[in-house]
């Protein structure tokens, strides 16, 4: 059974249909890239998968790891192993990053019937991850994303992913706004997550991320529909030719 199975998904915001019949199947161990022009519905798909209020699913089904995803609250999806890496991570002033990390980890552990993590183990683990992301420990004690640069916010998203070890990571333009070194660090982080038991969806506009994290499948989303799927060579084609030709082909 697929890890994530999306069938004929239609969704609207404020009565406006944005997703118009998406079908997508992702198995554990696979990396899928979703590409597509601005406004085609990529972030909307991520938010629908995350269960955001105000995004109404009007048709279709989604199963995730055997659960009916549409029946689950956002936080239930999270503790069941879905992690959404945001295109625009929000600032939460006054809440220390480390505090959120700990609460998030403990929420997941609680759902798994585990005790709260002890502070020592937690700190050790977090410090290692922070170092691996080439971040300074000081980030842990700053407000969540508060005053972080665009690139720092994205690293922070990957840091959370590494700590929470989700079954499915949905990374919405995690590569946007990264400098060359940061792109490498972030890619390495994603590659570390890659594994038999995990699925990864990368929403991206650029081939450069896919050079580091080679996708097994590439999908082109256009006007709320996946109009073409292929292997990594599809991304190369997009990079070389732009969307025009592929859009024409599809229509």
């Amino acid at each position: 059974m697929a890890l994530l199975e999306i069938k004929n998904l239609h969704a609207e915001i404020d009565g406006k249909e944005i997703l118009k019949g998406i079908n997508l199947s992702i198995n554990a161990g696979e990396v899928h890239a979703i590409m597509g022009p601005n406004g085609s519905g990529k972030s909307t798909l991520c938010h629908v998968l995350g269960g955001r209020d105000g995004y109404e699913v009007t048709q279709g089904t989604i199963t995730f790891d055997g659960h009916d995803l549409l029946e689950m609250e956002t936080e239930e999806r999270a503790v069941a192993g879905m992690l959404l890496g945001f295109q625009h991570p929000v600032e939460i002033p006054g809440v220390k990053n480390i505090y959120l990390l700990k609460e998030a980890l403990n929420a997941k552990r609680e759902a798994q019937g585990l005790d709260e993590i002890d502070t020592f183990t937690f700190m050790k683990q977090v410090r290692e991850l922070v170092a691996s992301m080439d971040m300074d420990d000081a980030f842990l004690h700053r407000g969540v994303n508060a005053g972080f640069s665009g690139g720092e916010k994205k690293r922070n998203e990957i840091l959370q992913m590494l700590l929470l070890e989700p079954k499915l990571a949905l990374l919405d333009e995690t590569d946007s706004g990264l400098d060359i070194d940061a792109l490498k660090v972030v890619s390495e982080g994603i590659n570390r997550m890659r594994g038999e038991e995990r699925g990864i969806i990368l929403v991206t506009h650029y081939q450069r991320l896919l050079n580091y994290v080679e996708p097994d499948f590439v999908h082109v989303l256009y006007k709320g529909k996946i109009i073409k799927s292929g292997d990594k060579t599809l991304a190369h084609r997009l990079e070389a030719e732009g969307y025009q030709e592929i859009l024409e082909e599809a229509s």
Binding site: E75, I92, P93, G94, V95
Partner: protein
């Protein structure tokens, strides 16, 4: 469901701490005249000067009219329908000495603590069990039930006792300081309090002494339809310092309850007083019926040079709160601070803030006010910064932030600045923000429940104030916010 509807639904939660404790009460029949004032004084065996003081306050009060404010609305209080004194019957025994063990304490009282979720060790402290590190002068209704740690404090020369005991044992100190910060006729509620106050706390820290422990008092309102008139007086002599914690929570009631306390602080040269309050009075039901009316006069006077007074408060209860802890900065180089978190939910009305009166040279004040409104609550910050003619080079910084949860509540800010000295530097910053859908979604997508997510955003918002609270209080304050906002998420 729209966001607003969802909020409305979630906001509807019953007050956790709604209950009454059935302890025998001795109550003076309702009504107020000179005879009642005399009776109160007589019941407390007060010396003549106290009776005279009360009577003079009563005569002033009779000539005063109740103030009206633009931002709080409540049915008129019938002062003749209130009873002005209530004391547990076993007063003498309870007053006599702190109990040796929990077994000696009225089980009903312990039950009350239990329902309040007061941790075991703290219950022990409240009841006076040896070894606990917070001295507690627990006020049950109007009379102190237990007073503990007197010995350890006495060793340091600190007097920490009920107000009645202070009147009895240290009349000269009471006489010297009572009413010197909040005069009898200061305002309607202060005058009423001066006439009929039942009891409260008294702290005296002599010259050069750092009080060896945090002083803590838990106030409870428990007698039916009885006004609560606490009186607190804290004096820190030259170079002394003390940190005083006050926490409140009240049982559920049908009728609105008036609370008109007076707190006076006096800091002499180089003295420091930190007064922290965490308040959780019954706010009323969903429509605001039955909540506590909280009209409090709190004022500190930095009488000496280089003295410092800090008010830190977390306000989470009451149907109506009217409260302006103030600092009168008389001494040169004295410092006043006010850190406040005020949370309103349902139909609560809060009109709170501070007054910083700069009189001495180079006096400094800092105001950090965080207002949180949920449901249909109205939360107003009203602050006065007065820089007197004599206050050369005075400085004030005010930060006033409002956080709205949902779109049916309100936040209002009324900063008043009076600068009579051209060298004054007064800065005011104000922000209003909403708990955003983005923040909620972000945190929930990390596995936090809606309520946890809300609490996290709110505590983050309050961080600057929580940082000022003593450690154990900060934890309590956070828990209190969580209880107050339970359900108000969206």
């Amino acid at each position: 469901m729209t966001e607003t509807q969802e909020l409305e639904q979630l906001v509807k939660r019953e007050y956790k701490y709604g209950f009454t404790t059935d302890i025998e009460q001795e109550i003076i029949p309702p009504g107020l005249d000179e005879d009642v004032v005399r009776m109160i004084s007589a019941k407390k065996n007060e010396p003549e000067f106290m009776l005279e003081w009360r009577l003079s306050a009563f005569r002033q009060w009779k000539k005063m009219t109740e103030p009206e404010w633009a931002h709080v609305h409540y049915p008129k209080i019938d002062y003749q329908a209130l009873s002005y004194y209530a004391a547990p019957k076993s007063q003498e025994e309870l007053d006599a000495e702190a109990p040796e063990s929990l077994d000696d304490v009225d089980p009903k009282l312990l039950e009350t603590y239990e329902k309040l979720g007061i941790p075991l060790h703290e219950r022990a402290a409240l009841a006076g069990v040896k070894g606990a590190n917070v001295a507690v002068d627990a006020v049950f209704d109007s009379v102190s039930v237990t007073t503990t740690f007197k010995e350890k404090l006495a060793e340091a020369g600190v007097i920490f006792c009920s107000f009645s005991e202070a009147v009895e044992n240290h009349p000269e100190l009471v006489k010297q300081y009572l009413g010197t910060v909040v005069p009898q006729g200061d305002n309607f509620f202060a005058a009423l309090n001066s006439a009929v106050f039942s009891d409260g706390s008294f702290v005296y820290v002599p010259k050069g002494v750092k009080c060896p422990m945090e002083l803590s008092t838990y106030f409870r309102i428990n007698a039916k339809n009885t006004g609560q008139f606490e009186r607190t007086l804290i004096i820190a002599e030259e170079g002394a310092s003390v940190s005083y914690l006050e926490g409140c929570t009240a049982p559920q009631r049908d009728e609105n309850q008036l609370h008109a306390a007076v707190v006076e602080l006096v800091a002499l040269d180089d003295a420091e007083i930190k007064y922290s309050t965490v308040q959780n009075w019954y706010p009323g039901d969903e429509e605001g019926r039955g909540g506590i009316y909280n009209f409090v006069t709190k004022r500190g006077e930095c009488r000496g040079d280089r003295s410092k007074i800090t008010w830190t408060q977390v306000e989470a209860g009451s149907a109506i709160t009217w409260k302006y802890p103030s600092c009168v900065l008389k001494g040169d180089d004295s410092v006043g601070e006010f850190y406040s978190v005020a949370v309103g939910n349902n139909y609560q009305q809060i009109d709170s803030g501070t007054k910083m009166i700069h009189l001495g040279k180079r006096t400094r004040s800092t105001i950090v006010s965080k207002g949180i409104s949920a449901g249909r609550a109205e939360n107003a910050y009203r602050g006065l910064v007065h820089i007197g003619k004599t206050a050369t080079d005075a400085r004030n910084f005010t930060q006033c932030d409002s956080l709205l949860i949902g779109d049916r509540c309100g936040a209002h800010t009324f900063p008043y600045i009076e600068a009579k000295n051209a060298s004054a530097q007064v800065e005011h910053e104000a922000t209003t923000s909403k708990v955003s859908d983005d923040q909620m979604f972000y945190l929930r997508s990390r596995g936090l429940s809606e309520e946890d997510a809300m609490n996290m955003v709110v505590s983050g918002f309050c961080k600057d104030v929580f940082n000022e609270l003593p450690m154990e209080f900060a934890v309590e304050a956070q828990a209190l916010l969580a209880v107050s906002l339970e359900g108000s998420v969206g």
